[in-house]
């Protein structure tokens, strides 16, 4: 009988990504609820050190899959290695992040294992050993509760939603021999943005600007800098060429769940809301007090963003 919980972590350049800690913490909670063991899995090259870091979140066991071919994520190498580890341990539940990597991987893995997959979940509920997954659908207009039949059950969790909980243990660390198999994908180049700006999907705070900025992002960026926040944008702003596609929040852009989302000069179209409605707190700044964004916000300022933002920036500076 399948039992136990796997939490698949994610590293880039030898550094664990935040969603990994969310997956392991959630894995611990689920494993405790099921009275089962939690195994954290980390894949990469020369990554023993990462196991140390994962101990804090309470796995009973850590599997370190270390191979030169696992240094950077590729669908084929990661799926081959994980499918084998999963088949030999036979876990009942597999948790991973619904990040770019996790989405790519979990879909493939589910097909390989003929397993049910609940993608982009915002909550896992435990009820008498039964697991129910909560996932937004239709761009967040519907929140579905789903259950998965058979095993393993694969669940990909929306980044930035679940709590990171420290729970130190002395886990067994194993380094199984891995077979990366026949690899078809060749990585030619990784073009990464430099600098220490947080990534949109991982940021605690996002300051987002829409058409109301008229293309002038100076104040939006300054506020973001002051708050250590990421900058987001509406699709209109992207279509105007004011911001890159990677900044777009919404149904055809990124789905974000920061603690604080500050929407500046954004009307609040349904497709924009689809990407940010699970933010914990939403502040809207719009000169039109009838703008639909206000009906979805927690706090609103009716006013011209070019007056309001500098005033907010001045207040933030006072806190330092």
């Amino acid at each position: 009988m399948a039992q136990g919980v796997f939490a698949i972590t994610e590293q880039r350049d030898g550094e664990l990504r935040k969603v990994s800690f969310e997956a392991v913490s959630e894995g611990r909670r689920v494993a405790d609820g099921l009275g089962a063991d939690l195994t954290a899995v980390v894949l990469g090259s020369g990554i023993e050190g990462l196991a140390e870091e994962l101990k804090k979140y309470g796995p009973d066991k850590i599997l370190v899959a270390d191979d030169a071919a696992l240094a950077d994520y590729t669908t084929d190498a990661y799926t081959n290695v994980l499918a084998e580890l999963i088949q030999s341990s036979d876990p009942a539940v597999i948790i991973t992040g619904a990040s770019a990597q996790g989405k790519d991987l979990s879909g493939r893995l589910a097909a390989r294992l003929d397993a049910g997959l609940a993608m982009d979940c915002v909550e896992i509920k435990l009820d008498n050993g039964n697991l129910t997954y909560t996932r937004p659908m239709f761009g967040g207009k519907i929140v579905a509760k789903v259950e998965i039949e058979g095993s393993p059950q694969i669940v990909a969790i929306r980044p930035n939603v679940m709590d990171i909980v420290e729970n130190s243990k002395e886990p067994a660390i194993e380094k199984p021999a891995v077979q990366v198999g026949d690899l078809k994908t060749k990585i030619i180049e990784m073009k990464m943005e430099t600098g220490d700006k947080p990534e949109l999907t991982e940021a605690d705070i996002i300051v987002s600007g829409g058409r109301g900025t008229g293309g002038d992002y100076a104040a939006v960026e300054e506020l973001a800098n002051e708050l250590g926040a990421a900058v987001g944008a509406s699709r209109s702003a992207v279509d105007e060429g004011w911001r890159p596609h990677s900044d777009q929040v919404g149904q055809t852009g990124k789905t974000v769940s920061p603690n604080l989302y500050v929407a500046c000069g954004i009307s609040g179209a349904i497709q924009h809301l689809a990407g940010m409605s699970t933010s914990k707190y939403i502040v809207a700044i719009n000169k039109d007090e009838e703008a639909p964004i206000f009906s979805k916000a927690d706090f609103g300022i009716a006013g011209d963003l070019f007056e309001v933002l500098p005033a907010i920036i001045a207040e933030v500076k006072k806190l330092k």
């Binding site: 619904a98 990040s99 770019a100 989405k103 790519d104 979990s106 879909g107 493939r108 589910a110 097909a111 390989r112 003929d114 397993a115 049910g116 997959l117 609940a118 993608m119 996932r135 937004p136 239709f138 207009k141 519907i142 929140v143 789903v146 259950e147 998965i148 039949e149 058979g150 994908t185 060749k186 990585i187 030619i188 180049e189 990784m190 073009k191 990464m192 990534e199 949109l200 705070i205 992207v238 596609h245 149904q251 604080l260 349904i270 689809a274 707190y281 939403i282 502040v283 206000f294 009906s295 916000a297 927690d298 706090f299 609103g300 300022i301 006013g303 309001v308 001045a314 207040e315 933030v316």
Partner: protein
């Protein structure tokens, strides 16, 4: 170059989505149906590759009878033919079963390249494309915003958090689209006229040789227990004040002292 594009019909993103009486599906009567926005990018990219290199573009859709409208839209944009998996037994399939059906149809088709959307904006599964690639035993490249196809190879710019990864694969391969890839064309009037004469082949589950007991709403591995509306936020607190500075000070007081978020 023979290209198959996976296209799904979905509710218009503007649609009011209401929960049906059964509590596990949506009311469909008032919905306007459109081509999944990510699949528009897929059709456009297929057409651009065909225009540059020759070949055929086939649209493959699993969906109820009315989904043929979306196939016709793609044909009007310039695709050559459609395949419509249309069978009440397949309705309500989950992502894995949908992928099995699509893969079964693909087995009988010649193709070098399959293009799909990154996600369908109905169930937001982000899964069917990867599963199809797995069932076909070909590589998948997700969230692509730039593609070069030449000499039996495909080079894709795959967007990830904070950057782009350029990867190369040999064909056949499948990739999924991301905004930024292209600007989908509109169907022209002559295109719409021509589309009416283009072939659309209808297939049932049995035609595809798929076991009816593994697809459809009754055989979902991912069982929908309930649909709910998202929790309502409390009514917005509009920050009052004379000047911008007053409002800003009040907002900061809330964010810093009350909810302690900054």
């Amino acid at each position: 170059m023979d290209i198959v594009v996976l296209v799904k019909q979905v509710p218009d993103t503007e649609s009011l989505v209401q929960i049906a009486d059964d509590g596990v599906s949506i009311k469909t009567q008032d919905i306007k149906w459109i081509m999944n926005p990510y699949d528009e990018l897929a059709v456009e990219e297929a057409l651009q590759i065909k225009e540059a290199q020759g070949g055929t573009v086939t649209i493959l859709t699993l969906g109820p009878e009315k989904a043929v409208e979306t196939i016709r839209t793609a044909l009007a944009m310039g695709a050559d033919q459609g395949i419509h998996i249309c069978d009440p037994a397949a309705e309500g399939s989950d992502a894995l079963a949908a992928a099995k059906l699509l893969a079964a149809a693909l087995k009988d088709l010649p193709y070098d390249l399959i293009i799909a959307g990154h996600r369908a904006v109905d169930e937001d599964n982000y899964q069917v494309a990867a599963a199809v690639a797995e069932f076909m035993g070909i590589p998948q490249i997700s969230m692509v915003n730039k593609v070069v196809v030449s000499d039996g190879k495909i080079t894709c710019h795959r967007t990830i958090e904070g950057g782009t990864v350029v990867v190369e694969n040999s064909l056949p391969a499948l990739f999924t689209t991301q905004r930024g890839l292209n600007e989908p064309r509109y169907a022209s009037l002559p295109g719409i006229m021509k589309a009416k004469k283009k072939p659309v082949d209808v297939k049932t589950v049995a035609d595809l040789g798929v076991d009816g007991g593994s697809v459809g709403a009754a055989n979902r591995k991912v069982k929908i227990k309930a649909f709910n509306l998202p929790p309502e936020r409390q009514a917005v607190r509009m920050i009052q004040g004379e000047a911008a500075a007053d409002k800003a000070a009040e907002l900061l007081k809330i964010l810093h002292e009350e909810i302690k978020i900054i």
